[in-house]
């Protein structure tokens, strides 16, 4: 059995299983069947990438030609479809980018460049991404059917079959994407992620969703055009041989896929999509395609000015998105900005490209994927249960929905507090940026802002005073919590096993030993465990609950919650709590500043490379 997974068939299974499942998922199935499908597919993909060591797929020249013709047909169909969408939606931006893509594609096809015989390249970097995808995706697949019990009621226009199809298919596409070596194959897969993104954001068919989906389409279209321009400059179709200006152009495509400034808006808009889409595509897996490509190019970028330019752009995005997250009051928007911010940090590390930097980026990818998926499932749970996407609606979550509250707190903690893994990555990242004062300063301020907004979210979840439950509040079935528990356990296991993970997964990618900070981290983990133990021993003793202090205004005594009181006009009033939010004008103005700075940086990056 083990041997079977060890060769190329393991890799083919990892790509094919989600695609087969996608076909099955487009049938009208009951919830139980959908969950079963998710578990079986997840087990197959996990077994394929974990049990063995997937190997390269090298084809004979004739077979490569067949694959290439299939790829050309696929690309043509896809571009025609996007042109049709642009016309249908009357979006000249989408039309323009699709036309640019089509022209560049035709040009490259006309050049008749030789396709490499190495089709799928399962090196340690690809294998690392395969493992991350395989760990996270099944939890989201298994959760989606529960979420949709609720979502169906508020979104009658949703067509579920194509929706489920893409939710599964995208994982097969991603598995192929991180292993593809032929640049034109990679382009097809790249565009398929764009298409999936467009269709899934569009699936609720609301006005907001339609606008956001077209925005995602044209912005990623710009990325696709940059990608093709890079291929044209490279003059070869092998990803392994890309360098110089071509690498910089591909890095621009990667930055757009990873929603870096000034192309951050498509990912924020993508939050119009249903919960599982946000969790799978827009936080944990698909946007990581950009990070994957940047890391793949890191050695090439490292040799030219492209690396430092990408490091600057990523660091700027890290700060800018954290700033915008600090002011937002929509839960999913905060999560979206924090995703963009973290992706910025990952790209900055790819731009720096040293062993420590790449190790930091990989650890970030792993822990961010798991932690952010968990948080999006929690946000979806809040939406399903309490019917709101407002961060304030999650105020006192731990009182209203204790398990959801604990999982949400755990998810946030996993993204910025020790001893959980992401802080280790951030620490590595900050020190890896020491060579450049500008990048370091951006990361220092961004790090402060990250603490600011995460603690704010944590404070809302953990608050002991909850708003009264809204009319029509629901409860997700108990089984819906299993995927969340699984992800929470994964965070804990990953953090405890940080050293083996570094040795087994991260070091093979960089080909070097990670800096010896692991020793310190082990000490930290021990100390934290001791601290937790002390607390458990201390907190055994219970004490009575008292009323909150509100200058003695309460007229009604409700332990743990603020009561009713009589206002100065002698009218009955209810005390309410809310977090800190700046004005909308302030948010809009700061967004404009960051978009402008990002645009200048991106243009500068290409100009320097020229």
């Amino acid at each position: 059995m083990r041997g079977w997974f060890r060769d190329v068939r393991g890799l083919v299974l990892a790509i094919a299983a989600p695609l087969v499942a996608a076909a099955l998922a487009s049938l009208p199935l009951q919830r139980r069947a959908r969950v079963g499908l998710a578990l079986v597919t997840g087990a197959a993909v996990l077994a394929a990438v974990l049990l063995g060591t997937p190997t390269d797929l090298v084809l004979a020249p004739g077979a490569v030609q067949t694959v290439a013709s299939l790829e050309t047909v696929g690309d043509t169909a896809l571009l025609l479809y996007i042109v049709w969408v642009a016309v249908d939606r009357r979006s000249w931006l989408a039309g323009l980018t699709a036309a640019a893509n089509a022209a560049l594609f035709a040009w490259i096809t006309g050049q008749g460049m030789a396709h490499p015989t190495l089709v799928l390249h399962a090196d340690p970097l690809a294998r690392f991404f395969l493992i991350v995808i395989a760990l996270v995706a099944p939890a989201i697949w298994a959760w989606a059917p529960y979420y949709h019990e609720h979502y169906r009621k508020v979104t009658p226009a949703l067509r579920e079959q194509p929706y489920y199809f893409w939710l599964f298919a995208i994982v097969g596409v991603m598995a192929a994407l991180v292993t593809a070596n032929d640049l034109m194959d990679l382009y097809l897969l790249w565009e398929l992620t764009t298409l999936a993104s467009f269709l899934l954001i569009d699936s609720p068919r609301s006005g907001e969703a339609r606008a956001a989906s077209v925005q995602a389409l044209w912005m990623n279209g710009v990325g696709g055009a940059a990608f093709l321009a890079g291929v044209l400059v490279a003059g070869s179709l092998s990803l392994a041989q890309v360098g110089g200006l071509a690498a910089v152009l591909l890095a621009v495509a990667a930055a757009i896929k990873a929603a870096q400034l000034p192309f951050s808006r498509w990912l924020v808009g993508a939050m119009a999509a249903p919960g599982p889409v946000s969790a799978l595509l827009h936080s944990s897996t698909m946007v990581k395609a950009g990070v994957y490509l940047a890391l793949r190019l890191a050695p090439a970028l490292h040799q030219g000015p492209g690396g430092p330019a990408l490091a600057w752009l990523g660091a700027l995005t890290f700060l800018g998105a954290a700033w915008l997250a600090s002011g937002s009051r929509r839960t999913k928007e905060v999560l979206a900005y924090s995703t963009i911010s973290n992706l910025g940090l990952m790209l900055a590390m790819a731009g720096i490209g040293t062993t420590a930097a790449v190790t930091a980026a990989l650890a970030l990818v792993l822990f961010h994927a798991v932690g952010k998926a968990l948080l999006f499932l929690v946000a979806g749970g809040v939406e399903a249960d309490l019917g709101s996407r407002d961060l304030e609606a999650a105020g006192g979550l731990i009182e209203v929905r204790p398990e959801l509250g604990v999982l949400g707190i755990w998810g946030v903690v996993s993204l910025y507090m020790p001893p959980l893994g992401l802080l280790f990555a951030k620490w590595l990242a900050i020190e890896a940026s020491a060579a450049s004062l500008a990048v370091y300063a951006l990361l220092a301020v961004g790090s402060g802002l990250t603490g600011f907004f995460w603690t704010k979210v944590l404070g809302r979840f953990a608050c002991a005073a909850a708003a009264p439950e809204p009319e029509g509040a629901a409860r997700l079935p108990r089984a819906a919590y299993y995927p969340l528990r699984y992800l929470a356990a994964l965070v804990a296991a990953g953090s405890v096993a940080l050293l083996p993970i570094t040795t087994l997964l991260l070091d093979p990618v960089t080909g070097a030993k990670a800096p010896a900070m692991g020793v310190w981290y082990a000490a930290l983990l021990t100390a934290a465990a001791l601290g937790a133990l002390t607390y458990v021993l201390l907190a055994r003793r219970r004490s009575p609950r008292a009323l909150p202090y509100a200058s003695g205004i309460e007229a009604e005594e409700t332990p743990g919650a603020l009561g009713r009181f009589r206002s100065s006009a002698d009218q009955p009033a209810v005390a309410a709590l809310a977090g800190f939010y700046p004005s909308a004008a302030w948010e809009a103005a700061s967004e404009r500043v960051f978009l402008l700075a990002g645009a200048l940086s991106l243009v500068g990056m290409v100009v320097i490379a020229l």
Partner: protein, 276 residues
Amino acid sequence: MIWVLCWLLSLPVAGFLMGVDRRLTARLQGRVGPPLWQSIWDAGKLLGKPALRPAPRQALWAAGYLGFLGLAVACLLGGADLVLVVLLLGMATASLAVAGFIGPSPFSQLGAQRQLFLGLIYEPVLLLLALGVQRVTGGWTFAGASLPLLYRLPLFLPGLLVALLAAWRKSPFDLASSEHAHQELVAGLATEMGGRVLGLVELGHWWEMELLLLLAASLGYPSLGWALGLALAFFLLGILLDNLLPRLTWRYLWPLGWALGLGGGLLNLIWLGVSR
């Protein structure tokens, strides 16, 4: 393992310093003031008291505040990486803010939010300081310094002072909890804390103040005279400024803190880069 001994002594020493602070402040205000060990007795008494709980689970985050600070002080004394020390300090103050956010009182919420602004003001400054040390010594610890670091990093002093005032809850940076009884904030983020929970936060507060004093002293490394002088100067200056300056709102303090801390630090780093 002399640093372990130092770490074991660090908490009582910090408690004693708090007592000195209370005495000096009293004298500045024309009062006699409590005995020097009063802060330690107070904390001991608090730790022995059960808490009335308007907010459950605060104890966890209060313990986190204390625990992360204990780790940060241990790491600094043990010669660990400075970035790690600063990140741990950030986590400690974040834990304190969460403890405040748990409290349902509006005063607690307000104090916690302001604690976040304080962290935002000084965490980036201290991270920049770590880079300054790295640029001078070639490593992320003070150990490699041959001359007192102060000679190469003088412009970090205002930023460090801001951080000390914020960590010590001294005016004008005493936004989050009111150390003085005449404020609009009741007891800020500590409003809903009592007994054992308040005791944990009190001990954490000692360590937080001491950590900043230690960082200031480290700029004197390897000269013991400079180190002691800096710590003493910062300690006295903190008490003096607290009694001289009025409180300001976060709207003023945030730009002020960043201008002094980030501005000074960046200028210093640029100067280091040019002079090399």
